[in-house]
Symmetry: none
Subunit: 208 residues, 4 copies
DNA sequence: GATGAATGAGGCTTCATTCAT
DNA sequence: TATGAATGAAGCCTCATTCAT
């Protein structure tokens, strides 16, 4: 295919992938644009044909990766209606993504926090969409009487996500990554939140 | 009091407090050393009489603030033996500290994550000591049969702390800080974890 | 000629020449990198595309100028076999170079001595090669019985070079450079060393 | 003696000696005033009670050391009338001073060249007085018909001193100082100059 | 579109010097 | 006379970004 749009896309992807790796390795501030260019096999200036500036590159990575995460999470929850089971799957799938794409996870978790612009000016809509999936699970569970009605879905959402995120960060930072079993961590956090949110009359049968 | 040691300490404290404010406002990288000096009312060079360099200033703030947090948390838990009540107090006190010292919280939570050195080389012993307080509450609860024995205190610790931390960060970042009621958030996260960790035979009486 | 290598070389040379002038005028420590950049008509940063740092610029000048000096001296001695005449030519050519390239001489003689790195760590191979030309003249003269065998070529070399160097420095430093006639100085130092090193049976016929 | 002037002098000497050592070790620019103060066992500010500034300290050392050198040289030549023998003694005594006071020699030879002010503005009268001793030996020799009248005492002086100086510098810089035998070097340079300057009818009997 | 040489603003840090005690 | 904490000017270097080719 000699479609110029195709080629344009290819070069853009080269840069994106290189940037993920370099940001993950060195961190956003330590990463030099020329490092990314070299790794992508393009000239420094080429990056500015596809991205406004270094920060735009970081945010673009975030947007693109979050699209993948969002789609993946929606697919993972597809056909599962039980709120309890949806909580389990959410945690399990989140960590699976982290493990399958360590560099991207590192960039998303560690480096994005570094950008003041990101934190204070940029509104991460995609992240909210991702988190809202969880908030809606809680709301659905409350509607069907499974979860206690006095739980604030907003607080539960941040608390749950913060927990997953912190564990993922420890895993990413750990030199010896055997130390944290992501599957087991997913199961435990999910069970704590499930039991913690269940109405008193409910009883959980542990997942098999 | 013309004690020279006293004066020395005073100047150092001036710098520390100024640095907390400036780092919180502008972020570590955006903060210029001369900004800090001006706010502290000292010359630029004076900062280097007390701190090795800009990063050392950041890490020193971390150490000093964590000492305060550690002492405060130990005091807040003093005399409380019931693990369940200790979990509640941990969450409540953590958020209280965040709210009473917004700038310091901002630096600790947001800016420290930005330093590669902090995350990858510096071992934040003080943070671990802080977190271990929670892990030990879990262990104590397990020993007394209140909390389920299959809970991994390590995972619970990171999950719980990550949740508190994320909520605190949202509060710090929120322009309108009414939106998140820290007391209520503390109560909810604590209750979720408590119920989530209780053995099946236990029942909680909600705190009054 | 649109040869990019040509242009690259041109810019490097611009910087080198500017640096020679500025170092000669102000001295190494007093010379600011921005002075050199301005004189070369380039941006400050451009200098760092060609040189690692300010000191590397100084050492590069040394290497490049010594190459020229070495070639020039070899050429000046070409075809002259008589050790006595070679000594004369060495002195004469050395001072000719000094006068034709006053700034470079100033940098080489005055400023290089200022760099601890140069004196204590850097091994000036090129300078030794230059000096060895003289030591070999002495050795040749000893082999052919013209110069006394008890002369240590090493001591003669340093003594001779030191003498030329000191006279050149006085000439460089003198505000009124008429005061020292370099040609006459060359002749006198050469004659002293020649007579001083001749075996007793020899007689010199003064050069015409 | 509780004479305050005595004490004043003592402290000044402490500083001078410390400065000689530190300048010799680290070089003028690398030497910090506080290094000198610490080595002298005084406060930084105390140095400024005795010296105008860092450069004045360097120049004062030069003046003081040159006084000693001058007196020493005059004494060493006292009672010796033969110009030939005076040349020998000059070289021998110069190197003896260098060896007996290595740090001072290092400062005088290496570091003084580094100060633009010294080289371009400061007129080293004492150095000239020292050198003039040699120029006068040449003049005396010419007056008594021992040295050739066409020798320019000025050129001979710089050439001779430059040679001694360069050899001394190589000795100072040499890690293994056995490599250069200063006594032998003194003898050789002196003999070269003596024979080189003698009138044709003269013959030297080598020194015993 | 692609290149990469060139740009130049910007800030951390050092250290000689001062001065209140 | 002595101190030493405080000062603050000054400059090397980096690196994101541009633009002529």
């Amino acid at each position: 295919m000699a479609d110029p749009n195709r080629r344009r896309t290819e070069k853009r992807d080269l840069i994106t992938e290189a940037a993920v790796d370099v940001f993950a390795e060195k961190g956003f501030h330590q990463a030099r644009v020329s490092d990314i260019a070299r790794r992508a096999g393009v000239a420094d200036g080429t990056i500015y044909l596809y991205f406004k500036n270094k920060e735009d590159l970081l945010l673009s990575i975030f947007e693109e990766k979050m699209d993948v995460l969002l789609d993946g999470m929606r697919e993972a929850l597809e056909g599962v209606d039980d709120p309890v089971e949806r909580v389990r799957r959410f945690a399990r799938h989140h960590f699976r993504q982290v493990r399958e794409n360590r560099s991207a996870a590192e960039v998303l978790q560690v480096e994005l926090r570094l950008s003041n612009k990101f934190l204070k000016e940029y509104r991460p809509e995609k992240l909210w969409a991702y988190l809202n999936i969880f908030a809606n699970i809680v709301r659905d569970g409350q509607a069907s009487g499974v979860f206690r009605p006095d739980i604030d879905p907003f607080i539960a959402m941040w608390g749950f996500f913060g927990g997953l995120d912190e564990i993922a960060m420890q895993w990413v930072l750990a030199r010896n990554q055997q130390r944290i079993q992501l599957e087991e961590a997913a199961r435990q956090v999910a069970e704590i939140y499930i039991r913690g949110m269940l109405t008193n009359t409910q009883t959980t049968s542990e997942e098999p």
